[in-house]
Symmetry: C2
Subunit: 394 residues, 2 copies
Amino acid sequence: MAIAKKTQTQMENSSWIRRMFEEGIALRQQYGADKVFDLSLGNPLLEPPQAFQDELKRIAADTTPGTHRYMPNGGFPETRSAVAEALAEETGLSFTGDDVIMTCGAGAGLNVVFKALLDPGDEVIVIAPYFAEYFFYIDNQGGVPKVAHSDSLFQPDLASLEAAVTERTRAVLINSPNNPSGAIYTNETLAGIGESLRRAETRYGRDIFLVSDEPYRKLMFTDSAYPFVYRHHPRTVVATSHSKDLGLAGERIGYIAVNPDYRGREEFIDGVTFANRTLGFVNAPALMQRIVAKLQHETVDVAVYRRKRDRLYGALTDMGYECVKPQGAFYMFPKSPTDDDREFVRLLQSKLVLTVPGVGFGMPGHFRISFCVEDRVIEGALPSFRSALAEVTA
Amino acid sequence: MAIAKKTQTQMENSSWIRRMFEEGIALRQQYGADKVFDLSLGNPLLEPPQAFQDELKRIAADTTPGTHRYMPNGGFPETRSAVAEALAEETGLSFTGDDVIMTCGAGAGLNVVFKALLDPGDEVIVIAPYFAEYFFYIDNQGGVPKVAHSDSLFQPDLASLEAAVTERTRAVLINSPNNPSGAIYTNETLAGIGESLRRAETRYGRDIFLVSDEPYRKLMFTDSAYPFVYRHHPRTVVATSHSKDLGLAGERIGYIAVNPDYRGREEFIDGVTFANRTLGFVNAPALMQRIVAKLQHETVDVAVYRRKRDRLYGALTDMGYECVKPQGAFYMFPKSPTDDDREFVRLLQSKLVLTVPGVGFGMPGHFRISFCVEDRVIEGALPSFRSALAEVTA
C-alpha cells in the first residue's frame, strides 16, 4: 500500500492525453521516432520571443543582492503592477497590482482559486469539451465537478448550464480559446453565462464565481478583440500563464487576476494569497517574475500557429473530415467519422498517428489534434488521416 | 461570502510568524525601519554562490531550442541524475535519477508527498517544536495532524512518539536541522524512530512512512556528518529545497528523494509524480532545474551563519538566557524568562525587537530568534534583550 486509495483512483481515471503519451513512447521505440506522428500533446512548440532572451541576459548580468530571496506571496509589486497595467490597457478596467497574484502557472492558479473558494461538497460546473485535469483540481480542493455541455460550434449551451446549477454551485469554470476545440466564447455567450449566474445567486443567496482559464488568450487567429469575461459578471477571476503566449511552459509562471469591478475582492484576494502560500507554491519563481514584468506586450509568433491551423484544417476538410475551424489555441476537434471516437483514434494509432479521443474531453464523437508540432509531423500524418477516413467510409 | 469557511478557519489559525510579520510592518511605519530589529523571519540572507551566477550567465547565452518547454513531470533526467549522484556520494546508497522528483521547493514537495500518501482521516505525526505550516499541508491533503514532543535538547521523545501512533498513522514528519530549535536529530534518535515505526507497521498491518523535511541539511555548524534518515527506515522520503543552501528561496526549486532501499518504491514514485502534476505544480521551474544540476556540491558560505550564531548565542547566554546551542539552520530557541512566552515576545516587541513565541511552534515557554539577518540587526537587538530580561527578573 504505497499510495492512498484516493490517489490510486485518480490515477486510474488519469487523462487520455497521458495514456496516448505513454503509447507514443512505445510506438516510437518499436517503429523509430521519425515514423510516428504525435499530435496528442499540447507542448508549445514556439520559442520565447527575442525580448525574453535579451531580458534573461540583462538579469543574468545584474547581481543586485536579494533578487532570489522570498518576496510577498502574491509576487513582486513591480511585476503585479506591470501585469495590471497591461490588463487595464486591454480591458479598459481599473486593474491595479493588488488585483493580480503571480502564480506557478495556470494549473497552480486554478488549484489556488478552488482552495480559496470551495468547502467540501461545493460544486463547480465545467463545460464540455474540457481539459480533463480540471476534475483533479476541483477534487483536490474538496469540490464536486458537474458538467454542462456545448452546442455544435462549441459555445456553452446556456440551457445545459442552467440545468447544472444547484444550491451547492460555487463556481463555473470556462476556458476560451478552448482546449480542445479552439473555439472562442463570444461576448453573447459570456453575457448569457453572467446573467444565469446572477439569477442563481439571487435564487440561492450565495456568491457564485466565474473562473476563466485563459492560457491561450493571446493565441487567436482572428482580428476581433478577445471577449474578456470581466464585464459579464462581477465575481470573475482569471487564471492564466505565460506557458503558451511566451513559450515558457516549463518555467511555471502565470497569474490570477481578480475583476476590479468585484466589490469585496480584498477578502477574496487575501484568501487566494493564503492558499498560494499554504498549498506549497509560496510564490511564483522570482527570476521569471522579473522577466515577464517586461514582456507583457510580447508574444510568440502566432502567425506560425495560424499557418499550421490553415494547412491542417484545409487538408482535413478537403479529405472530407467535418470540423469547426479553430479560432485560437493550437488544437482542432474534428468529428470522428465513426460513432466510437476511441475506435477511430485506435485506427489512426495503428497508422502511427497519435491523437486523443473526445471522450477524454467529455465530448465523445470527436477527437483532438494538437498542431503545435513541426510541419513535417503534420505533413507526415496526412496520408494516415486520408487512409483512415477511407477505411471507415468504404 | 468571498472565501470558503474551511479556508477562513485556516487563515484564522494562520501562523504567528505571519502575525509578527504584519506587526513588524506597522512598527516600521511608526518608528522607522532602522529602529526596528526584526528577528522573526526565516528569509535566507546569503546570496547564491558565485557558481550560480556563472551558470545563470552561461544558460542565458545558450539559445538551444526547447529548454523552456514542458519536460517529464518528474524533471529533466540530467537534473534528477545529478541530484541522485550527489546523494549517492553523500549517503553511500545507490540512488538513481528515478528516485528523485524535482519540485517547486520543499513546501511543494511535502504537499505532493501527503497527497500521494493520505486518504481522508489518515494521521501524520508532527514533532514539536515544529514549523506550523505543516498543519496546513497535512490538512490540505485530507490528513489529520497529531503531535509528539521533544526532550529538553529538542530531540524527539520516543515515548511520546510511541503514544501518538494509532491504527490510522500513515506518516511521521521530521525536520532536522530543526526549525525553530536548530537541533540536529542524532542517529540514535532516528534509529529509535525507525524501530518504533516498524513495530507499528507490524502491529497495524500497514505501511508507515518517515517523511523528512531537510531544507537546512547543509546549514550545519558541526564537523560531524549529517545523520541521514534512509538507513533507519525503508519507507523514507525526503523533501527538500535549495532555498537555504543555495540562497534560492524565491526561485522555488527543490526535490523529493525516495529511499533506494525501499522496495516497491516505483508505485510510490508514480503516485508522487502524479500528485506533482495534478496539484498544479506540473514540474519544477525548467531554468532553475538546469542550474542546480551543476550546483549539487555548492553551498552559501555557512561560516557567515555560524559567526552570527556564535555572536548571538554568546551574548544571550552571557546575559543569562537559557538556550540550547543550535547545531544548524539559522534559528535559536531560548527559554522564555517568563512562563508566558507570548507575554515575553510582546515585551521584546515593545522594545522594537521582533521574535516569535514558542506557542507558534507547539512548544510554549520558548521563543524563536532568526539570525539570518544583517549583523547590525543582531547588534541593535541586544540592548533590548538585556533590558527585557532585567525587567522580568527584577
